[in-house]
């Protein structure tokens, strides 16, 4: 069995002062709330601000997802909501697209138009809690437009809504493929970023190292990737959109995956805060303290949730949650014990949310900020992961940054080699996973867990509804707004499409229509799958 971190650092049996020689408290740690923020952003930790405890929702119709959200609120989830999109919406097609019909509402929320968002949010406040909408990169602009449009409809200033609804375009390379081309995703992502920053809307974008790590990348690589992604995004908002760093720093937040290697994970989160703060100050010359503070949301690792003996996953989830909390996160949501089987059942969701409540209120872990600071082992581990992270970060910067490294295939090769290594380690029992390659029990002895059923006939229903509803819309308003979007789409990469998208969304244009129109304007096919034609003539 390997006794080393996932990035290959061999652990010693004991740690002492010799492992932290040169340690300088004020330079390396400083008090909580002080640069470089290794110990967190608040002097009193969670006493100052509790992490947002949340579960991800989204399955079936918008009305069904709305009930789940209300149910979570009753379970004590009041800090914020988190909704994940279905694949149809993520691929920017409508439920009544031939491929949409098979999968609408499966694995997420079928949010293809403002109508769906209105139904999702029925009776749920837009303000006073964080609103998080997950999905893929390309429809980020749609999700943002829904929030702006619904806020305006409810008579709320959009700048009063906070949360996140945008995703960086990089995840397409991290095992979460969608069909939109990278350059389009990047352009729209920067449009959304520029729009929220200029209009002071407190909506953030997730820069997801989670997918990278869930697809097999190691902790040190994840740190390097994370910083490189943020640097690329902020750099482009500064250079191409004329914003300053202190403003752009309000755009990204980091979604980190936390696995079962307890101490490694805490070290990773601490190192991330410190590395980001240094990058902000030294590379971007940040002026404000806030600009040196990266918000870190945690998703406990789905890939560690085993298919075999799923109840064991409750224990894994608890260890991971505790690591995330001790590491000092801004928000946390959990993978569920049935992650390797299906979408979360009500029972599994409640278990995960209760895991957070138990850690928050029973364990005492939230009482004292950064409790492991000063531990020889923890400080050595934080330094190690940082050192290896910097090595990779410098390599990526040497190539010209994140996008240049992707163009070269450097990041993809690194990820696929690491994924293969992880698989091999389990295959060869170099890493033990209870119930999978160690202490395996016969399948028939396994405890049966409730399974969340996914019904394909729901998809047909959603599709039929969409098809009929589309005909009831104000066609004149639709055509005018889409024609404007098409015209704007031809004005080049730096021309911000958000205003035109918001107008089209208010006229109830669907994601297929909005994205199809933008695609046409850029010389692509209307339909990413090239199966349907644009219903409107623009020229």
């Amino acid at each position: 069995m390997k006794r080393e971190t996932d990035y290959g650092y061999a652990l010693k049996g004991a740690y002492g002062p010799e492992d932290v020689t040169g340690f300088d408290y004020s330079r390396d740690l400083a008090d909580p709330g002080q640069y470089p923020y290794t110990r967190g952003y608040f002097p009193q930790g969670y006493r100052s601000r509790m992490w947002t405890q949340r579960m991800t929702a989204g399955l079936g119709t918008s009305a069904a997802a709305n009930l789940v959200l209300k149910n979570y609120r009753e379970m004590g989830q009041t800090g914020g909501i988190c909704v994940i999109s279905d694949r149809v919406f993520s691929d920017c097609i409508d439920p009544d697209h031939p491929l949409g019909r098979r999968e609408a509402g499966i694995l997420g929320w079928p949010g293809c138009s403002l109508l769906e968002f209105e139904e999702l949010m029925d009776g749920i406040p837009l303000t006073g809690q964080s609103i998080t909408l997950l999905g893929s990169s390309a429809p980020s602009v749609m999700r943002l437009a829904y929030i702006v449009a619904l806020a305006q409809k409810r008579g709320i200033d959009p700048s009063e809504v906070h949360g996140s609804c945008m995703e960086s375009p990089f995840e397409n390379y991290f095992g979460q493929t969608d069909v939109s081309p990278f350059d389009l995703n990047l352009k729209l992502f920067l449009d959304a970023g520029e729009y929220v920053l200029r209009n002071k809307i407190r909506m953030r974008a997730s820069i997801i190292s989670q997918h990278f790590q869930e697809s097999g990348g190691n902790s040190a690589q994840a740190l390097a990737i994370c910083l490189s992604m943020i640097k690329e995004v902020c750099g482009r908002l500064i250079n191409e959109r004329g914003l300053d760093f202190d403003t752009t720093s309000l755009f990204p937040y980091e979604l980190v995956s936390v696995g079962t290697r307890f101490f490694d994970e805490i070290a990773k989160i601490r190192a991330l805060r410190r590395m980001y703060a240094r990058m902000a100050k030294e590379e971007f010359h940040a002026k404000t303290e806030k600009a040196c503070q990266l918000l870190i949301a945690i998703h406990t690792s789905g890939r560690t949730m085993t298919f075999q003996q799923p109840l064991n996953n409750i224990v894994r989830c608890a260890i991971q949650t505790l690591a995330g909390v001790i590491g000092g996160c801004t928000a946390l949501d959990n993978a569920t014990l049935d992650n390797a089987h299906s979408e979360p059942s009500a029972l599994a969701a409640r278990m995960s949310l209760n895991t957070q409540h138990i850690v928050a209120y029973e364990s005492g872990a939230a009482d004292v900020v950064d409790p492991l600071a000063g531990s020889y082992y923890m400080e050595a581990l934080t330094n190690k992961v940082e050192e290896e992270g910097y090595r990779i970060y410098n390599e990526i910067q040497g190539m010209g940054g994140m996008i240049a490294a992707l163009e070269r295939g450097y990041v993809q090769d690194m990820l696929s080699a690491e994924a293969a290594k992880k698989f091999q380690e389990i295959d060869r029992k170099e890493r033990l996973v209870v119930g999978v390659n160690h202490l395996v029990i016969p399948e028939e002895d396994d405890f049966e867990i409730p399974i969340q059923e996914v019904h394909s006939h729901d998809s047909e229903k959603i599709a039929d509804r969409m098809e009929a509803w589309k005909k009831t819309r104000d066609q004149a308003a639709l055509q005018t707004t889409l024609a404007q979007l098409y015209a704007d789409g031809k004005k080049g990469d730096r021309f911000n499409l958000m205003p035109a998208i918001i107008e089209a969304v208010k006229a109830y244009a669907s994601v297929g229509e909005v994205m199809g129109t933008i695609r046409l304007a850029r010389g692509l096919t209307y339909d990413p799958f090239d199966m349907i034609q644009c219903p409107y003539a623009y020229e």
Binding site: I106, Q176, F307, A420, V454
Partner: protein
């Protein structure tokens, strides 16, 4: 490891499934065991997979599924049968609930590998059950 010599396998996601990690690892495992892998990637409809299977004349089809609309896998099996490709086994892997796995096996899917399956299990199964396995071991 040359167990897979001369055996041609499709590895694909089905439907709009964009989770490519599992499929890529299996493709790599099979390649390293000497198989020829036709990697179709994400967002493949059953019709597309059928067409690829015919044109490439493959010996087995592996579907990596991260909780899909599983009816699409059953539909693929039907399509293969209707097109004279019923002798090409369809093998699934990924996040598939147990009762769905039993249903799939009852509906013509050759085998379902849950997460955590070893590479040896996968390689041995495909080697023994690919179309023309007898010819290849001869």
């Amino acid at each position: 490891m040359h167990k897979g010599k001369g055996i041609k396998v499709i590895i694909s996601m089905i439907g709009l499934d964009g989770h490519t990690t599992g499929g890529e690892i299996v493709a790599r495992v099979l390649r390293d065991a000497g198989f020829e892998v036709i990697y179709l990637g994400a967002t493949q409809t059953p019709e597309m997979i059928l067409k690829a299977a015919i044109q490439e004349d493959v010996d087995a089809i592996g579907i990596s599924s991260h909780a899909s609309n599983f009816h699409q896998i059953e539909y693929l099996v039907e399509l293969l049968k209707d097109n004279g490709m019923g002798d090409v086994p369809v093998i699934c892997g990924g996040n598939i609930p147990k009762h769905v796995a039993s249903r799939l096996k009852g509906n013509g899917i050759a085998e379902v590998f849950p997460p955590g399956s070893s590479s040896a299990q996968i390689i041995d199964y495909v080697t023994a059950n690919a179309r023309g396995a007898a010819r290849k071991s001869a």
